[in-house]
Each structure stands twice: as structure tokens, then as C-alpha cells.
Symmetry: C2
Subunit: 326 residues, 2 copies
């Protein structure tokens, strides 16, 4: 895969009229980028060949040729995978540099945070007494989903692969029970054991990031009228032969389960409420950024590949520069 990427150095001219120059501080990598590297039909177009990769980034304005932006402004863009760039003002969004640390806008206060928020609050209709099962719970979205569910008063069981991730869930993210699925010969039995240990009947909400045997375990342990927010099925993205599919879909009927896929783009209207909640929760010390930071654009591909090899804890970021205007 490395042979498909090239690191190119170019001079960046001063911004043209209407343009703004930005130095990125952080860029983020996420699994959805994998989808855009194939030309299968999807909700976003594939990446173009021989063009810079796109992706969420937070940066600082260094020069501006547009009245809405001034040097020192913190801006969000989808023009990651580059250190310095010029862009039309319309490609940039202001972020409050005083409310949160810059990287938070790529994490709990960014689209991964909104994904967790929309999935739990709107799709699953989270209620205070719910038992919530989160797969890929140590990941970018999962680690925020766990925290939101606990802030809302729910009991949370998180699954992740490896002892290091399990410890991260228990010690850093904060869950009521954690499963290291790699250490479990049978994930359904492991989930049943944790459900029993918590003294609950089953799970009411599944925040699904993995699919396959994780979805199967969630179906097996679901309570009647459980709601499944289907955020991702990372176990299926790199599969070219027969995908692993849950063998117990008939549970949908016997337990009257609702399963709903969603993409964050459809839930942008939640953003004001979401941002207000996140800033308030951060101020109250209730939510924290769980992140893995790689240094320098030359490590962007390593960061990206780490998403699939299972090295990442929380949101995977690449640090591209230090703020100049402090």
C-alpha cells in the first residue's frame, strides 16, 4: 500500500484574493477513508488519483486575503494530508480556540464525536436506564460513545481487541465492563458473562462499529425492543471474499429489534446542541479526548494503517505543526 502514496513538496504562494493560508496543526485519519480508496458506490465520491488526500484537519490561519479570517484564527477544513495550503474562505470553518484544545475539534467535538452523539441520542434514542454495548469501543467513535452513554446514566460494556485496549477502556475511557475479544474464543459467551456480572438482563442499545461476530453477540444478548445504531462494520471493509455475517438475524423478529444504519452527514442539524453539550461536559471534566498522536506528515500512512492493524487507541491524529499564535 505504501507504494500507492507519495509525499510531494511544493512551494505555497501567498493566498490569492478571497483565499486564506492555513498551517495545519493536526490532521485525522479514519477508517471511512478506506472506502474512498475504492470506486464502489457510496455516499461520498472516491478519492481522485494523483491528488492530495482529503481529510479532517484543524489549523491556524497564517495569512488571509478574505475579511472573515485573520491570522491566528483556528479553522477546521477537510484539507488534511498537507502542512500548509491556500483555500477559498468557503472551505474553512471557524472554531473557538478558547473553549477546547485544538485536537478536540477532530475528536469529541468533531465529526467522530457527532457520530457517537447522533447514533446514541437520535438513532438509538438513548434512555437513562439503558445497557449499552459498544464495539470497537477503544476507537475514535467508540471511545466517545462509551463516555456519552455513561454521562447519560447508562451502563456500558465495551469490546476491543487486546489487553492494552481493554485496560484503556477500563482506565481511560471509563466503562462498566470491558471485553478483549481477541482473548475470547466465543464473543457471545463473553458478552453473556459480562451482562450477568453486571446483574442486568441483556443489552438495550448496541452501538455497532465492527459487524460480524460482534453484531451476532449483540443480537444474541439483546433485550426485547433493543435499538442498534449501525455506525460501521470495520470487520467487513477489507474483506474481499465472503464477509462474516451474523447467523442470528432472526433475532430481529423474535426480539422486535430495530437496527438502523446512519451517516453523520445526515445529522449536521444536531451540531449546535452537540457542541454546547461537549463544551459543557469538557468543562465539567466529564469527557476527555482519547487520542493517539503520530508526529509529522511523513507518518500519516503509518497512522492510517494503524487503524486496521489495531494499534490505535481513541482518535488517531497526525500532528503537523505547533500553534504560532498563542
Amino acid at each position: 500500500m505504501a507504494q500507492d502514496f507519495a509525499l510531494i513538496t511544493r512551494d505555497v504562494p501567498p493566498p490569492a484574493p478571497g483565499e486564506v493560508q492555513v498551517r495545519n496543526l493536526f490532521m485525522a485519519v479514519d477508517p471511512a477513508m478506506r472506502g474512498r480508496m475504492s470506486d464502489a458506490p457510496s455516499y461520498v465520491p472516491p478519492f481522485a488519483l494523483n491528488a492530495p488526500m482529503e481529510g479532517p484537519a484543524i489549523g491556524e490561519v497564517t495569512a488571509s486575503n478574505h475579511p472573515d479570517f485573520k491570522p491566528g484564527d483556528l479553522v477546521f477544513s477537510r484539507l488534511g494530508w498537507r502542512e500548509i495550503f491556500n483555500a477559498p474562505a468557503a472551505a474553512l470553518e471557524h472554531r473557538d480556540r478558547d473553549a477546547l484544545p485544538p485536537s478536540a475539534y477532530l475528536g469529541f467535538a468533531g465529526s467522530t464525536g457527532l457520530t457517537a452523539y447522533a447514533g446514541l441520542i437520535r438513532i438509538a434514542g438513548l434512555r437513562e436506564d439503558d445497557v449499552v454495548f459498544v464495539s470497537a469501543a477503544s476507537g475514535a467513535v467508540g471511545s466517545i460513545a462509551c463516555q456519552i452513554a455513561r454521562i447519560k446514566g447508562c451502563k456500558v460494556i465495551g469490546a476491543a481487541g487486546g489487553a492494552r485496549k481493554k485496560a484503556f477502556l477500563l482506565d481511560t475511557v471509563g466503562v462498566d465492563a470491558a471485553i478483549d475479544y481477541k482473548a475470547e474464543p466465543n464473543l457471545t459467551k463473553a458478552l453473556a458473562r459480562e451482562v450477568k456480572a453486571l446483574g442486568v438482563k441483556g443489552i438495550d442499545v448496541n452501538f455497532e462499529n465492527v459487524g460480524g461476530d460482534h453484531l451476532q453477540a449483540a443480537l444474541a444478548l439483546a433485550n426485547k425492543h433493543a435499538r442498534f445504531a449501525i455506525c460501521g462494520m470495520i470487520s467487513q471493509y477489507n474483506v474481499t471474499d465472503a464477509p462474516t455475517v451474523p447467523k442470528n438475524l432472526t433475532m430481529l423478529m423474535t426480539k422486535s429489534i430495530r437496527m438502523e444504519g446512519f451517516i453523520v452527514l445526515d445529522h449536521k442539524d444536531l451540531e449546535p446542541q452537540f457542541m454546547a453539550d461537549m463544551i459543557a461536559w469538557h468543562k465539567a471534566g466529564l469527557i476527555r479526548q482519547a487520542e493517539t498522536v503520530h508526529e509529522g506528515i511523513e507518518n500519516a500512512l503509518t497512522a492510517f494503517n494503524g487503524l486496521f492493524s489495531g494499534d490505535n487507541l481513541g482518535r488517531t491524529l497526525v500532528k503537523l505543526g505547533e500553534p504560532v499564535h498563542v
Copy 2:
């Protein structure tokens, strides 16, 4: 399987105080009974061994020892698989013998009708311009779902197995397009072809009775934000080895599909509105009972097995007697 059943003849005494004696006119068999023949956990308890089978029946009161019932009353019970029986009044429900023919209360105006109605109206949130795909469309529930969807102004594609069922869909049930899945090497391609022939983009609603490759085809052809009412997965009930599962569940995310299993028991509150609609639609000639009638209780098992061998068209009933009070 026949060796697991016995036809027993017993004398039926006069009804005790508080009891009513009923001669059944029709009993119905349905695939859900298969589930109750195993002791897997479900929403209804399994059938008891060495006891009469239960099931929906419509009958006529022959003698009564309870003030709410008099000879000639038409009554619904869950005490099918018997010709004459005594039951406490609480086990019987009155039905209007003038509004509809008796067998309709086991069909479009019975629980199969309510299943179709609840699945489309409440679970799928049927809208006038929806394209609806119904699997097992020639079956008891499917044949009513097709009719309700068309009454509501939708375009309907029905799938069923065999040329006879396909003709039944087109000629008797009434659909915009019919697929004989047994004649199609690839059901997804067949559905794509019918979608194209109808001049539509894809399907908005799936009324799922079959599961497996039918569900896979529905996922493949679903429009964005499609709603799937998961009523049954008959392809999976008699499967003891690995079930056939859809390989494209990731469509749930890419198309933001909502998939919801349901059981009719949870939607009894719709009954008054449902019954009023059905009687009005019947009076207007918009809905018809699609039924296969077997004669005599000695053929009840043949009728039941026909549900799985694919012999049945519409609701499968066993005629147990003629009305005496006309």
C-alpha cells in the same frame, strides 16, 4: 414429522357453567407454529407435548353457558386443531358475521392481515410514492401486504417461488411486477431488472418474509433511507446448519437503512383502525381473501407441511365444518 402427531377422538360434554361450546368452521396454519415446535427461547412458549395444537380458528357457538354468547355467534379463538370444544368465555372473541365471510377473520381481517398492516403502516411508515418489495408475496401475510401497499398508492414488486405463484401474484393478488425466484439464478439481478422496468430508482420499503438472498436483494436495491419491516425469515426456520445470510449488511450504513423486526402481538392497539379499514376496503372491492383451503382436520398436517414445501397460495386454512346457523 407425521409420526409426531396423532388424531384423537373424544366425546365433548355439554359446556360447564361459564363455558361455551364451539364448532370450528375454519382453522389456520402458519409458519410461526414451526417455531413453537422447538424449545428455543421466543416470544411465545413452545407447544406442550401430548396436548392439542393451538392455532387461530373461527367457529360458531353451538351451546352456551355464559350470558355473553348465544348459539349462532361467530367466534374467534386460538383453539384450532379441534372440531368441537368447550372453552371459558374469556378464550373467545366475537366477530361480526355480517360484515365479512367467516374465513376472512383468519386472513385479511385476522392476525395475518394485522401483521401486514402493522408492518407497512407503523413499522415501515408507508408513504404514497413508495416502491415496495414484498418477499413470499403469494403467502398469507405477503398477499395482504401487496394489496395494502397498492391500496395506499405504492408500486409493488412481489417475489414468490414458481410459475404458479407468479401468475397468482399478477392475476389474483395484484402487483406491479412479480418475480419467480426459483426461475432466477440471481435474485438481486432479477430485482434490479424489475426496478428498471418499472422506471424507478430502487425500493423504499421491504416487507421481508424470507430473509437470506431475498433480504440481500432488497439491501442491494434499496434507496437511501429505505425502511425494512422484518416480518419473517422463513428461509431460516428449518435450517440446522449455517443459515444463508445477506452478505451486504454494510448497505445499512451506506444507505442509512432502517431495519426493524416486529411481531403482531405488539400492535394489537391498531386493531380498531385496521378492522374498519379492512371492512371498508372489502366493501369497496379493493381487498380479497387469497386462500388455500384443505378439507377436514385429518388434512391439517398436510396443510401445515404445505407451508414449507411451497404448495400454498395465500392463507392456508383447514375447513372443519359448515355454518349451521345461517
